[in-house]
Subunit: 313 residues, 2 copies
C-alpha cells in the first residue's frame, strides 16, 4: 500500500497550517554503493525519504551518500553547519572516524539514530537500529531442522571471522541440536562469492554425499551454487543463504527447489531507522532505545513481500 497523497496536494492543503509548524530537517548519511547489500540500503533509504516527505510535510530530508569515511565526516559536518539538522540518521562507514563528528551532532542538541554498526563510544546515539545475528542463525537452523525431519549431512560456510559470524553460527548450531543434522564440514567463505566457490569445491571433492548447504549468506550461496553446477553433483538437495538478495528471493518466489527459502537481514533496516526518527520528530512518542530487527524466514508463501525488483539488491 502506498501513501495516497502527493506532495503537491499536501503542499496546497497545508500552507495555512504549516506556518504554525516549525519545519525540521532530518539528515541521513550512509555509505554509497551501486551493488550488494549497501546498494539495497541506498535504494530503501531513498524510498523512505520519498515516502516520508509525502506523509509529513513539516519534515525536510537531506540524504548524503559517501564513498569513504572522510567524505562521510564532511557530509555530517556540513549537515550540522549549513542545514541545521534536528536529527541525524547515520550508518557509519567505520566506527572510529565517525565517532567524533556524530558526537558533535549530539552535543549540538540534535537527535542521533545509528544504524547497523555502532560507534566507538557508547551513549552517543538516542536510537540504535540493527539486525539480529543470533536470530538470523536460529531461523536458518529451525528451517533446516524442519526441512530435514530425518536429519542428514550438511556443510556450512561462515563469514569473515567476527562477533557477528560467531553469533550467527552459535544460533544455528543451537537450533539444529537433536535434529539428526550433522555438520560434516564448516569453513569461512568470508561473505565472498569467489572464496565460497573454492570452499564448496573443496567440500564436494572431500564428501561423496552432501544433503544440504547452509551458505549463511546470499553472496556465498551464489558461489556455492556455481560450484555444485561445475561439479555436476545432484546429491545436494538445497542451499540456504541469507540477507534477502533479490535474485534469491525471486528463486524462492518461483518455487526453485534448490533455493526453497531465505532468511532476512534486511538492508531496508535503514528505512526503519528513518521512519522511527520521523515519528520522534513529529510526535511525543518515545523512540529512544534499541530496535533489533528480526530475521524472518522467506518462503514461497511470503516471498512477494520481500521482493523489490527495482532495488539493485
Amino acid at each position: 500500500m502506498r501513501t495516497i497523497l502527493t506532495g503537491a496536494a499536501l503542499a496546497a492543503l497545508g500552507t495555512a497550517a504549516m506556518a504554525q509548524d516549525e519545519t525540521k530537517v532530518i539528515g541521513v548519511s550512509i555509505p554509497a554503493a551501486t551493488h550488494g547489500w549497501a546498494g539495497g540500503m541506498n535504494f530503501h533509504a531513498q524510498a523512505a525519504v520519498e515516502r516520508l516527505e509525502e506523509v509529513y510535510p513539516q519534515l525536510d530530508f537531506v540524504l548524503s551518500t559517501a564513498s569513504d569515511p572522510a567524505q562521510q565526516v564532511n557530509d555530517i559536518e556540513d549537515m550540522l553547519a549549513t542545514r541545521d539538522i534536528s536529527a541525524l540518521v547515520v550508518l557509519p562507514f567505520e566506527s572510529e572516524p565517525l565517532t567524533a563528528p556524530v558526537q558533535a551532532v549530539s552535543e549540538a542538541g540534535a537527535w542521533v539514530t545509528v544504524v547497523d554498526r555502532g560507534l566507538a563510544v557508547e551513549g552517543i546515539d538516542d536510537l540504535y537500529v540493527a539486525g539480529d545475528n543470533p536470530g538470523f542463525g536460529r531461523v536458518a537452523g529451525e528451517y533446516m531442522a524442519e526441512k530435514m525431519p530425518d536429519g542428514g549431512n550438511i556443510v556450512v560456510l561462515r563469514g569473515i571471522p567476527t562477533t557477528i559470524d560467531n553469533e550467527r553460527v552459535e544460533g544455528f548450531q543451537a537450533a539444529i541440536e537433536g535434529s539428526g543434522i550433522e555438520i560434516i564440514g564448516m569453513e569461512h567463505g568470508n561473505w565472498n562469492r569467489d572464496e565460497s566457490f573454492n570452499v564448496m569445491q573443496d567440500f564436494l571433492s572431500r564428501h561423496e554425499q552432501i544433503d544440504a548447504v547452509w551458505a549463511s549468506d546470499d553472496d556465498m550461496a551464489v558461489g556455492v551454487l556455481a560450484a555444485i553446477d561445475a561439479a555436476g553433483r545432484d546429491d545436494v538437495q538445497f542451499v540456504l543463504g541469507g540477507a534477502g538478495m533479490k535474485e534469491m528471493v525471486k528463486r524462492v518466489m518461483d518455487g526453485d527447489a534448490m533455493i526453497p527459502a531465505d532468511v532476512t537481514y534486511p538492508p531496508s533496516m535503514i528505512a526503519t531507522a528513518i521512519e522511527m526518527t520521523a515519528v520522534g520528530m513529529t510526535s511525543t512518542t518515545p523512540v529512544s532505545g534499541t530496535f533489533t530487527i528480526g530475521s524472518v524466514l522467506i518462503t514461497p508463501e511470503n516471498a512477494e513481500q520481500f521482493y523489490y525488483p527495482d532495488s539493485p539488491f
Copy 2:
C-alpha cells in the same frame, strides 16, 4: 509539533486515491485504567490513534480497554471475528490467558505487536516493544553518582520481587560501584505508596543520617516523601523515583530540590508500538523484531518534553 492535516480535509482530498488503496484495520487491546501507569498508557494509546487516523487515512483503528483478562480475551476474539483486523497491538493483562487468543490472531494471518508483558509462548509476536529494566537502574545509578561526587549514605526501595526488579537493582548497583555511595538499607516497597511510607519510616528511625533515597519508582517516591515530611527530617537531600509520573515531572520542571530528576519507563511505549505497527501496515519498511525503549533521565532542562498535563499519569 502536531500533524497539520485534519481528518476531514484528508478525507476530502483522498477520496479518489482511496478507492485504490485497501483500508486496513489495526486493533489495539489494552487494560483499562483511570489512574497510575495504566492510566497514562490509555491516554497515550488514544492520542496515538487520533494522530495516526489523521496521518494515514487508509488505516482504521479499533481501541478496546478491558477491566479483566476475560474481557480482553473477548475483545480480541471480537476484533478478529467482526472487524477483520490486519494487525493487533496488545498489552496483555496477564500472559497465560491471553496467549491462545493472540496466537489465534497470528494464525489467522494478522500482524501481532506485543507490548511490555510477554506471552506465555515464544514466537507469536511479530514485534515486541518493552522497557529497558537494566538501563532504568543504570541511568538512576549514574545520576546519583554524578549528583553525589563525594559519595554518601543512601537507602533503596525495591519493587515487587520479580526479574524486572532484580534487573533494575543490579543495573543501579553496577552504576554506583566505586562512587563512594553506600547503600545502608534496602527493602521492598512493592511499587506501593503506603508500603513505601512504612518502609521509609522504618529507615528513618534506624538511620540518623540518610543523604538520599533511590525510591526507584514514582509511586514509591510519593510514600517516601510523605514519610520524610511526617518525620520532619532534613538530612535527606533528594529522592529519585522513576517512571515519569506527571506530578514528579512537574516538580523536576519547577526546579524542586527534593525531586531534582526522574527516570523514564514511559507508559507512552504503547504509542511507539502503535506507530511502528502503522508504519508496517503502510510501507515495506521492516518493523518485525524487538524494540527496547530506552530509559531517559528527566532533568529541569528537558522535563517539558516529558510533561503531559492532560494525562492522568
